[in-house]
Assembly symmetry: C2
Homo-oligomer: 191 residues x 2
């Protein structure tokens, strides 16, 4: 997606440790016009798939998922991150290791909002080691719902996540795949 | 806002301890069509005010803020909750006590995304004791930006937050104000 790549080149900041800061438009301040272009692009790429629900994970996936949902005309469910083991109620739960924060947390979704008849599109801002995405896929599997695919805004192509997801036969659409990046050399995208 | 009140009556669940569960449409599963009606209503109520940025706080405010932002044609910034004291970078920070989770956390916003020239509308899903909203107002004050007002989806009118906010002269628009509620008797709204 060209306007996304252009924007990453213009406003993204590469930091030591393979950190790509895009918080001026994607995951702290959010450019809602860009989100609408992203939502349209996800709809285009998944136009052949039946989808009745979007699943994302707090916090930075929520805005993109909600804007995208308008193009699919479906509700959004966001999985909650929890560091306590004592959340009340009947939930699906899985453990996720965060690349960014270097810690393990639980991700939970109420059983009320994922049902066997659901056809679910996962939307998230980043794909790096794939743990969050695999966690959401595991929750969908447990619920008996169908995983229709996953739409990612920025995939770090040099980390293992994308390969792991594709190897499992999950349909993955990443709008920008970063093949390499450096503090001096900027960002190189996959064609 | 009548369709919101109707929806709360239909799908909201009152639990012991003044808990109003609206997670089937507002803050876990999100009804994006309803969010669009909410966004339109906020735009109507704040149509006389100059606004160039919406500020909310993760996680459940983000979806409502993003959909609402489309009616104002402005970007959204979401404040991040942090339990660590060691977030890198230059941030505004304030302490907030959570009613729902019964704990204290820090709320932070990067100094890059709030400037003295900004005219900020705060959007959030709930107003109860007002701590989150007062925290965001404090961050805006520190940044030198102007607080144009606060739009809340559900105000718990029997808690202190709404009064505290109005007493400070902050323009507050709550789309549904719950005056009382009980497990048996359901929800009573302010006229």
């Amino acid at each position: 997606m060209q306007i996304l790549k252009d924007r990453i080149r213009k406003d993204g900041i590469v930091r030591e440790g393979n950190v790509l800061k895009v918080d001026s438009f994607l995951n702290h301040q959010m450019d809602i016009k860009l989100f609408n272009e992203i939502g349209k692009e996800f709809k285009k790429r998944f136009s052949d798939v039946e989808i009745n629900k979007i699943l994302t994970v707090e916090a930075s996936g929520i805005g993109i998922a909600c804007i995208t949902a308008q193009y699919f005309d479906v509700p959004v469910v966001f999985a909650k991150k929890s560091q306590t083991k004592n959340i009340a109620g009947d939930v699906y739960r899985t453990e996720v290791q965060s690349f960014t924060h270097g810690r393990i947390y639980d991700v939970i979704v109420s059983k009320d909002f994922l049902k066997p008849e659901d056809k679910v599109l996962i939307i998230d801002d980043f794909l790096a080691n794939g743990c969050a995405l695999l966690g959401l896929a595991e929750i969908i599997r447990e619920s008996g719902a169908e995983l229709a695919g996953a739409g990612i805004v920025i995939e770090k192509g040099f980390q293992i996540g994308g390969e792991e997801i594709r190897k499992r036969g999950i349909r993955l659409e990443s709008l920008a795949i970063v093949d390499s990046m450096s503090v001096d050399g900027g960002v190189k995208f996959r064609d």
